[in-house]
């Protein structure tokens, strides 16, 4: 079983328009590497030059923001659902 990754609209140019793709890896870092192998360019949009998750990107494994878990080292079990979502600046 693979890991499914939900792709936000502004990254769908890298996935041929798909809103959801599958990837492999046992940590978030490995999943991003695998995504990059299949959809070149996507990793640099999610990570900044220092290799950290960009300030205005939220990444969730299951229902949890990885900032509350182990960040890029967060384990990604088989069948996990990952969501990449632009942070929404403003208003509640």
């Amino acid at each position: 079983m693979a890991i499914s990754v939900r792709i936000p609209t502004i990254l769908r140019t890298y996935t041929g328009g798909s809103s959801e793709v599958t990837a492999a890896g046992s940590t978030l870092t490995e999943v991003l590497d695998d995504l990059e192998a299949n959809h070149p360019g996507i990793r640099a949009r999610v990570l900044d030059d220092a290799g950290e998750i960009r300030r205005f990107v939220n990444v969730y494994v299951g229902n949890d923001d990885v900032r509350f878990l182990d960040g890029l080292s967060t384990p990604t079990a088989d069948g996990a659902q990952i969501s990449i979502i632009p942070a929404v600046a403003g208003g509640c």
Partner: protein
Amino acid sequence: MSTITETTVETATQHGIREGAFGNATALSCRECGATAPLGPHYACPECFGPLEVSYDFPAVTREQIAAGPRNIWRYKALLPVPSDIESSPNTEPGFTRLLRADNLGRELGIDTLWVKDDSTNPTNSFKDRVVACALSAAREFGSRVFACPSTGNLANAVAAAGARAGIKTVVFIPSNLEKPKQVNSAVYTDSLVAVDGNYDDVNRLASEIAGEEEGWAFVNVNVRPYYAEGSKTLGYEIAEQLGWRLPDQVVIPVASGSQLTKVHKAFGELIKLGLVEDKPYKVYGAQATGCSPVSTAYKAGVDAIRPVKPDTIAKSLAIGNPADGIYVLDICRQTGGAVEDVTDDEVRAGILLLARNEGIFTETAGGTTVACLKKLVETGQLDPTLETVVINTGMGLKTLDAVADQVGAAATIAPTYDAFRATGIA
């Protein structure tokens, strides 16, 4: 027709937007990297995901032109991303709320000159009517079918009411544990109030996902956020105009996502740039509840990064654990010489009573937080009590009655006789 005009028309039609739909706004630009995008239902920078903001080519605007406008936010329409005929479309016409001299509260806190900007008198009793009015205009121009938001309550009230008046379907998403009055205040205007089991950050995430999938939905604080956020500038414009076209020395503002504080600062800067007020230094202070104080925590630690938190406070309208504009709040408060402070839930309750019993204004928990932070800022020497200060009340106390219901009540229950009354000692 000149070439320039032809190009403008072409660009506008390319995106299916009528000419002048966004007034003097020219483009969207990224606050982080400066990349630009055409005016459209976009909110995240295509390069770095940073927040897109509306940029303008302002014409010369005079105080007289503004003063001749209606007594609502449309008096500032030249400075907002709305068409010049905005008043002809049904909206809730928020704004031009009272700026009250607060001498009693000032005396109590030891502040020489204190004003309360009371935004609880807007149509749905919070400052959110301002932002929603601008978002509605954008939604209309984009031809959206549905008007929606994730909300901590006040925004849902404002969206539901404005949508009803505009005759557009509304869907509002709230955390299921929200204060009952805020739920009722939305549900009376819409049959599509969706309560989500989770906190605001969960609701916000869900809304972002829906916004990415559903065509024709205008989420006021997601995909039309750049237009929405501009509405908050009117709070800053009004403060300056009501002070007789000058800026206060200090202003204290509640912080959840941080959008409102950021926009009041933007408004002051624009007024200076346009020559509508004299350039002068002013300090901006942010107020949070300790149970959800990621920005205050970062401020006090002297760091730039904000660590998200899981909120636990009675100030539910300020309960955003992952505030996307938080870093800008930090920058503004530091640059202007202000600060970010936080107070406990007990102090929030005391803040509500302090404002009510000194000025006759019943604020909700957000205002209780702000007044309590003002008090703490004075006590800790962070705010100079000899400088002219404005504190913003963003919402109405009837929506969060439970916060103080146990603290106040009848001083005595007596028989209907004069003797019984005398016995209370109140006379």
